[in-house]
Subunit: 204 residues, 2 copies
DNA sequence: TTTTTATATGCAAAAGCTTGCATAAATGAT
DNA sequence: ATCATTTATGCAAGCTTTTGCATATAAAAA
């Protein structure tokens, strides 16, 4: 068992904190987005700004590349759809193979990943000269989270007011949304704690 | 301004939710880890299991590659250190240029990044056949977070019992730690909510 | 009528990260 | 003596992601 020292204090790392490597979940995120409705790359990129994309962002290049790969692997099928007033689009849908692969993936163990938030790294660099900048950044973050929470709450009230009565899959989506809401609420609270602390430093 | 539909509900995306691209923060995370003490790649990889690494993980290969790049850019210097009973190590330290670059980086705007948690994607795939597996995964996640929280709390009590009396940089580290603690507490609460909901589905 | 905006898709190169392997010194265990 | 483990560093191939174009249709605005 591996041990490390944190300032005279010895800590034993639990084995599950180490890398047990999973492929990417981008492909699964895309397939998941296609469970109920077929979509084009462009629509996916947009829907990633809402719904699943509340938790999983991807650029359009990433999406197009992944769609190409997934359809080469027969996990997705594609068809061109003519539109009036717009260029044609290529709509992707899950194949039976894709649905099976997705269901199997659910059973594979997933790793816990840490936040990787730039702001936390920045806080390690806090000093008298940048306190006011940190306050500004935290305020921006706070505003950002507020907006996100507002959106989440609207979705919740509109579509998940009575979660117990929803079909099972929707209850899962609800739990993910709830995770987003709880996380946002917590982040907001932390911002306020941190801002209070920073304000007291700044006034010294 | 870009708009998208979420189930009949129109939402206007705020501009800051889009990609404004930052380089990587791995290099900054490494430089930050070297602010107070010089370290070898091996020591960095280990310290990434504690301290900053509570929030930012990196493999040893990633670290060695980054150290090489950073010293080529004159942001770090290196020296070989002989050890008794162990192979020699190469110890890296921040150069003046590195310290300046780090201080400047703090002022660059950082993006908010979403969770990218596999578990949330899996929840979108919830159905009658995998409810019990989801419960198992959530219980595992809960256990994992508990352990992490326990570690955080130990560190907090041992080194940050009276944050106001700490030097400024340490107060920043404390705020990051507090973020980890608050986030863990929230995640734990959400796990319990979700487990309760899943249990009620499973018993139907 | 030209320009801008939204829709729609993609390539190619570069950068970054993961995976698998390889090496080596020193200690301790068999 | 040999083997396993810990400490310590790194290469090379492959995969993923980002960055920077590039293209094209159609509507709307200037």
């Amino acid at each position: 068992m591996q041990a490390f020292a944190y300032k005279n204090e010895w800590v034993y790392a639990s084995s599950d904190s180490l890398n047990d490597n999973e492929p990417m979940a981008l492909s699964q995120a895309i397939m998941t987005a296609l469970i109920e409705d077929d979509m084009s790359g462009y629509e996916l990129a947009q829907s990633f700004d809402s719904s699943l994309g509340l938790f999983w962002r991807a650029s359009h290049q990433q999406i197009y590349q992944e769609l190409k790969k997934l359809s080469e692997q027969q996990l997705l099928n594609k068809r061109e759809v003519s539109q009036s007033g717009k260029p044609n689009k290529i709509v992707y849908g899950l194949t039976l193979l894709g649905r099976e692969a997705l269901q199997e993936w659910v059973y594979k163990e997933s790793k816990v990943q840490e936040a990787k938030d730039d702001l936390l790294v920045k806080l390690y660099n806090l000093d008298a000269s940048n306190v006011s900048h940190m306050i500004t950044e935290l305020e921006g973050r706070r505003e950002n989270i507020m907006q996100r929470l507002y959106l989440y709450e609207r979705i919740r009230r509109r579509h998940y007011a009575d979660p117990d009565s929803l079909p099972i899959r929707r209850q899962g989506v609800y739990l993910a949304l709830l995770g987003g809401i709880r996380n946002g609420e917590q982040y907001l609270g932390w911002c306020d704690e941190a801002l209070k602390q920073l304000a007291s430093i700044d006034s010294d």
